[in-house]
């Protein structure tokens, strides 16, 4: 019996996949792919090479987490701005001239002794470009996107951040065009510091919520990670 199944050795000795793609092949070389795309788009008049270079330059030098750090330091030093930021973050942040793409609609969530906020985008990689620039690789990769919502404490531990059990962790999943910025707690021992001095304590990671702001004298680094 079962004779339809025997005598078909087909022993090719290698993979035999029945997908449309063969996942044992390496993916196309991304550098060649990017070059082909750009050449073609330039030739078609769909992109302007000078604008591409300026676009890259803008995000490499102008739009980055120092913007957000200024917002945070301002909130720490100016109670009126702090209130405005919590009530209408979009207007408050735009007033500092941090406007534009991925910052059109802003909301600031504030850390306290009782609440710690953490921002993620499980569905893609939404991130407040206008105040933080382009997101780091880990923010866009699968492990953070998968785990930040289901086990935020374990995720925070991987950044060296341990919170007391009774602190409520609020995870903000950026599913709409609303962009979230964490307002970290002002570090102790910074009484009388200027906004400029304070801004140096405000790391990008503290504004995503995976770390706290630096303590005075603490160097910014990912040592803990």
């Amino acid at each position: 019996m079962a004779d339809t199944e025997k005598n078909h050795p087909h022993d090719a000795g290698h993979h035999h996949h029945h997908h449309d793609q063969n996942f044992t092949d390496p993916p196309p070389d991304p550098a060649l792919r990017a070059m082909a795309l750009e050449s073609l788009l330039v030739e078609k008049g769909l992109v302007d090479p000078a604008a591409l270079n300026q676009l890259i330059e803008t995000y490499e030098t102008k739009v980055g987490p120092r913007n957000g750090a200024k917002v945070v330091a301002q909130a720490w030093t100016d109670p009126d701005f702090h209130d405005w930021l919590k009530k209408d973050a979009t207007a408050a942040i735009h007033s500092m001239d941090f406007t534009g793409r991925q910052g059109e609609h802003m909301r600031v969530v504030e850390n306290t002794d009782a609440v710690h906020n953490l921002v993620v985008c499980t569905l893609c990689s939404c991130y407040p470009w206008a105040v933080l620039g382009l997101p780091p690789t880990w923010y866009k990769a699968a492990p953070y996107r998968a785990r930040a919502v289901s086990e935020p404490r374990a995720v925070l531990e991987e950044f060296g951040t341990t919170l007391p059990d009774d602190v409520e962790i609020r995870v903000w999943d950026s599913t709409s065009e609303m962009r979230y910025l964490v307002l970290p707690q002002r570090p102790e021992g910074t009484e009388g510091w200027s906004a400029e001095e304070l801004a140096a304590l405000v790391t990008r990671n503290s504004m995503i919520g995976v770390e706290t702001a630096l303590a005075p004298g603490q160097s910014k680094s990912g040592d803990a990670a």
Binding site: D20, Q21, P27, P30, A31, A34, A36, L37, L40, L41, E43, K44, G45, L46, V47, D48, A50, A51, L52, Q54, L55, T58, E60, G100, R101, Q102, E104, H105, T122, C124, S125, P136, T137, W138, A142, Y144, R145, A146, R147, V149, S150, E151, R153, V155, E158, F159, E168, I169, R170, D173, T175, S176, E177, M178, R204, N205, S221, G222, D223, A225
Partner: protein, 221 residues
């Protein structure tokens, strides 16, 4: 759609292994710079919405989506968008060369250096006049619909079926499910809080999720 992009709550997905903040470069290679720039620049052509571009990335096979690096997914999505908009052909993409001397009409919208600063500054606000009045108000208990549409949706699988409480009404924002199909209109958007233990069990005490959800994703609970 139920795809690999909908990652919330996925397990056995590995460690985060973040590069140190002070050491990670903005781009990890020159091709990432170029992939970033062409994607942002072509977005300004007005041929597709951000929702459509997300949907183009999501529609990849799960293995491709998950093993690709971030900008590889951007390039894959951009190729799909360009093909579907009729701006390029598959042969042209492969060759990296145009097969016609005619330029597409969309090239009139090319993001030139002159336009760049004002376009970046303007951004693309997503708020739109309301098409329907909001059905919910702050404090309302809502249940996320347990749906499995084939199209684009921004209601993550991990929250579907669960009950939360409306925290804030954000006004009317472009409805992504239809925007991905080219139909741009606003719908009421809320921020909704869910208790961690309802989603993940008792180990998730002292944990809450705040998720932005459109009116039609929700039922009264």
């Amino acid at each position: 759609m139920n795809g690999a992009h909908d990652l919330g709550g996925t397990q056995s997905i590995g460690a985060i292994n973040p590069e140190a903040e002070t050491e990670e470069p903005l781009f990890h290679s020159e091709w990432e710079r170029r992939a970033f720039a062409v994607t942002v620049a072509t977005g300004a052509l007005g041929q597709w919405s951000i929702d459509r571009s997300r949907f183009a990335r999501e529609r990849q096979h799960p293995v491709d989506y998950l093993r690709n690096s971030y900008y590889e997914n951007w390039m894959a999505g951009l190729e799909t968008l360009l093909l579907e908009a009729g701006l390029v052909t598959a042969e042209e993409l492969k060759a990296g060369k145009s097969m016609t001397s005619e330029k597409p009409a969309a090239s009139q919208n090319c993001l030139t250096l002159e336009k760049l600063e004002s376009v970046l500054k303007a951004g693309s606000p997503a708020d739109r006049p309301e098409s329907t009045p909001p059905r919910f108000t702050v404090g309302d208990r809502v249940r996320v619909k347990l749906v499995n549409p084939k199209g684009h949706i921004r209601s993550p699988r991990y929250v579907r079926g669960h009950v939360g409480v409306v925290q804030e009404f954000y006004g009317s924002h472009i409805f992504p499910d239809r925007s991905a199909e080219g139909d741009i209109f606003g719908a009421p958007l809320y921020n909704v809080r869910f208790e961690g233990r309802d989603l993940w069990g008792d180990s998730a005490e002292s944990q809450a999720l705040y998720i932005d959800l459109w009116d039609s994703y929700l039922d009264p609970a």
